[in-house]
């Protein structure tokens, strides 16, 4: 009686089967957002100024070294803020040579402005922008390595926002949030510098033998006094340019020192080994300060040239701290410091509670709507129930298949889809009632009802789809979940409310004998 009925039923069964296969088992196939699974989300700003400052300082120091090597004696090299440094007192005789050297060493990244014997070097704007972008990318990679080492499953470390210096980090299922945060934020700048004198208990004593201020190429660095938790500081005078930095590390791992206290053992890469051999060979009897984030951890004496690749940082570490430090050194230093802009933490028990509440609300919603439809449209209400339920099944299947994340607002979108989905059924049923009121038989009424109402259904869905699309643009995380369920729920609703619902009516009518097709329960 109805052409293609079998084919239509097959299509519906296939789509349903596919959807169910997509999201079964739900615990594995449906991705839960942080608000349902528990975990933490942070938004950091990368202080790219740090990276710029380091670049300027390093460039000025290296240039100064190059000048000495070329025997050009200058008055002084001074860093003037973030982007520029000045060289004063360049002897006119060496001017030509100076300019050539400046061009070779600094020409790519710095603009020169000369005024008499003072030459000011300013970082080129496009280079500054480039360094900022690189700093952010490097920060993302470093945090990514650290977070992966922490053993977080499916972490997300990605750029965020419109200012090009924000990063979002999502750590699902993390229990010890504070630990994770400290690992991420730790700048972990390792430097090994030659000690000139020290340790002394205060700066003045230290500098008294040098005329009250730090000689050129040297700086004062504070250090720990040795006892755990003791914040008194001692001071060392060290060479400014580091002999070894974190970049020369190949690996780091926790270990025990000769007193069985936790320490960090690190191995150097080839370049590091070369540098280390030279420094230790040239300076037997002197101390090397091992400096972590600007604080001297220890300053062992070089007893002989060390040509091995392995060395140790000892200090007052606990086992956890040694493990953390190794992790951080392995991942590389952060190119710039991080500032926390936002944080969102959800405990796992709250997440579970939210899932339960969401599922309960969905079932109640479905139940209420179905009871009403049965009451008002009689047996056609079953039709509505089937089409709405199928809508939810397809929606869940869609989301699982696309790997879309289900959030708490996403469940709200689910429930909204129930209410709005049944909307279409109401439209259709009302039209059918209207058509039947004009004394048409059931078959024609149904056909006319569906035909007339398709345009209106599409029309009413489009405006909600527009709103959902803007919502998706504007939102992150949970709101996107809401927009996604709403969007796909409405989209699949066109299929279920029209195609499935109609097929069901046709199926029911096809099972009756010709005479009794005039009435349906609606």
């Amino acid at each position: 009686m109805y052409k293609n009925l079998q084919w239509k039923l097959l299509v519906i069964a296939a789509v349903t089967g596919l959807a169910v296969w997509s999201f079964t088992p739900p615990s594995k196939k449906v991705k839960l957002g942080l608000d349902l699974k528990g975990g933490v989300q942070m938004v950091y700003r990368v202080e790219t100024d740090d990276a710029i400052r380091i670049e300027t300082e390093t460039a000025s120091e290296q240039f100064h070294e190059a000048l000495k090597t070329d025997n050009i004696t200058v008055g002084g090299v001074k860093v003037n803020g973030l982007l520029e440094f000045q060289v004063e007192g360049v002897p006119p005789a060496s001017e030509q040579q100076f300019r050539q050297l400046a061009q070779t060493q600094l020409g790519q990244s710095f603009d020169r402005d000369s005024n008499g014997t003072t030459h000011t070097f300013r970082m080129k704007p496009n280079i500054a922008v480039q360094r900022r972008t690189e700093a952010v990318q490097q920060a993302i990679q470093t945090i990514d390595r650290r977070v992966n080492e922490l053993g977080v499953s499916e972490p997300i470390v990605a750029p965020y926002g419109t200012t090009n210096d924000q990063i979002i980090v999502q750590l699902p299922g993390v229990q010890d949030v504070n630990h994770a945060k400290s690992i991420i934020k730790n700048t972990a700048i390792l430097e090994i510098k030659l000690v000139e004198s020290g340790p002394m208990s205060d700066e003045q004593t230290l500098l008294s033998s040098h005329g009250g201020k730090a000689p050129e190429g040297m700086e004062v660095v504070p250090g720990t006094s040795g006892a755990r938790g003791d914040t008194t500081r001692v001071f060392y005078l060290v060479k400014r340019v580091a002999a070894i930095t974190g970049r020369d590390l190949r690996n780091a791992k926790p270990t025990l020192d000769e007193y069985n206290t936790p320490a960090v053992s690190f191995t150097l890469n080839n370049e590091g080994v070369t540098k280390f051999t030279r420094v230790t060979g040239d300076n037997v009897g002197r101390q090397l300060a091992i400096i972590l984030d600007g604080l001297v951890q220890s300053a062992p004496v070089i007893e002989s040239r060390i040509s091995q690749a392995e060395a140790r940082i000892t200090g007052t570490f606990t086992q956890q701290e040694a493990a953390d430090l190794s992790l951080i050194l392995r991942s590389g230093a952060l190119p710039a410091s991080l500032t926390v802009l936002a944080e969102s933490t959800v405990g796992p028990s709250l997440g579970e509670e939210s899932v339960r509440a969401g599922v309960m609300a969905s079932l109640v919603g479905l139940g209420l709507v179905t009871i009403f439809m049965l009451f008002y449209y009689k047996l056609a209400g079953i039709n509505a129930f089937v089409s709405v339920s199928l809508n939810l099944v397809i929606l869940l299947g869609f989301m699982a298949y696309l790997g879309a994340v289900m959030t708490l607002p996403g469940i709200a979108g689910f429930i909204l889809t129930i209410g709005m989905g049944v909307d279409s059924n109401v439209l259709i049923f009302e039209r059918i009632r209207e058509e039947m009121a004009t004394k048409k038989g059931a078959k024609q009424a149904i056909a006319a009802g569906f035909d007339r109402v398709l345009v209106t259904i599409v029309d009413t869905h489009v405006s909600s789809l527009i709103a959902a699309a803007f919502l998706f643009q504007f939102g992150t995380g949970p709101i996107r979940g809401f927009a996604t369920t709403l969007f796909f729920g409405l989209a699949s609703n066109v299929f279920t409310a029209v195609f499935v619902s109609r097929t069901m009516f046709e199926f029911i009518l096809s099972r009756r004998s010709a005479g009794s097709t005039q009435q349906i329960s609606i």
Binding site: S354, G365, L366, V422, S464, A467, L471, I479
Partner: protein, 310 residues
């Protein structure tokens, strides 16, 4: 069962009264909002910290408040069901903060030191000033562009006067919802804005159904005055309008009652929005469309009957 069997109510007759009611509600609401110093922004938009703490034993919120570093500026209240022992601590943005999470750490440490009882942090929501401002502008922009998108869509599908009518109705719904949110003490959070945007899309649904009918009826009765056509269209679709609003309302009621506290603001917004949306669809959208339509739309027959004013 039918609830409206061929209704024939002259809705448009009441258009000025309906508009007056809306203006009254919105006016009173704006007054409340202004007297309270602005919309009640949630932490997402105002910035600050919200800690949801679960205590092992029932704890009084005043005890918790006195243990805080800055009790004067903090909001402490019991949260959730009585047996939950949950307390909500809300702190505004503190003036000088580089790291947005410093405040929360301070508070947690202070509470632990004050020995107010064992607690776990169920959830933490910290929004620094940069992100707060970012979200404020995004939220505003999203609402405006959503309204704009819908305006364009209806203009494209119908005509400009209808589009303006629909947008005024939708804008009206947003305002009324904001007013009720303020009156019932709900914060404007990200979830609430999401619900508001949904309402804009939803409210326009009903309006489109009526305009569809108007267009269909106009085709069938070309010489009838617009006001009569619109009235008839509203009446014809009344059943459908009320029922679909009703079913959506039912499902959102389930969300409001069973969905948990986190979604309460969102559910409430949808509830008010659905009611306001239905009201504005029946009374406001059509009224504005009529008011803005040129007089010729009344049809030549009526024009001939109406005596020219002296």
């Amino acid at each position: 069962m039918h609830i409206f069997d061929n209704p024939n109510v002259n809705f448009l007759k009441w258009r000025w009264q309906a508009l007056a009611l809306s203006v009254a509600i919105i006016g009173a609401g704006v007054f409340t909002i202004v007297s309270r110093g602005g919309l009640p922004l949630g932490v997402d938009f105002s910035g600050g910290t919200v800690l949801r703490l679960k205590f092992e034993k029932p704890t009084v919120d005043s005890v918790v408040r006195s243990a805080l570093p800055d009790p004067g500026n903090s909001v402490v209240q019991t949260y959730g069901a009585p047996g939950d022992n949950e307390i909500l601590v809300r702190l505004p943005l503190s003036g000088d903060q580089t790291n947005a999470d410093a405040q929360a750490a301070q508070v947690e440490a202070a509470l632990k030191a004050a020995n107010v009882g064992n607690f776990t942090v169920q959830s933490k929501e910290i929004v620094g000033p940069v992100i707060g401002e970012d979200l404020r502008s995004k939220g505003l922009w999203a609402t405006v562009s959503s309204l704009g998108g819908i305006l364009l869509y209806i203009w494209f599908r119908f005509r400009l006067t209808f589009a303006v009518g629909a947008i005024v109705a939708t804008f009206h719904d947003v305002l009324v919802t904001l007013v009720f949110l303020t009156w019932f003490g709900y914060d404007i959070s990200l979830n609430v804005v999401a619900a508001l945007l949904t309402i804009t899309g939803y409210s326009v649904n009903d309006t489109i159904v009526i305009f569809d009918r108007v267009r269909e009826n106009q085709r069938l009765a070309k010489r009838e005055p617009l006001e009569a056509v619109v009235n008839r269209s509203v009446n014809q679709t009344l059943s459908r309008t009320i029922i679909t609003a009703g079913t959506t309302f039912l499902s959102v009621v389930a969300l409001y009652l069973f969905g948990g506290e986190v979604l309460e603001g969102l559910a409430f917004t949808l509830l008010v929005g659905i009611i306001a949306g239905t009201y504005s669809t029946i009374f406001i959208a059509s009224a504005i469309a009529i008011i803005l339509s040129p007089k010729q739309a009344e049809g030549p027959a009526t024009a001939a009957r109406t005596p020219k004013r002296a």
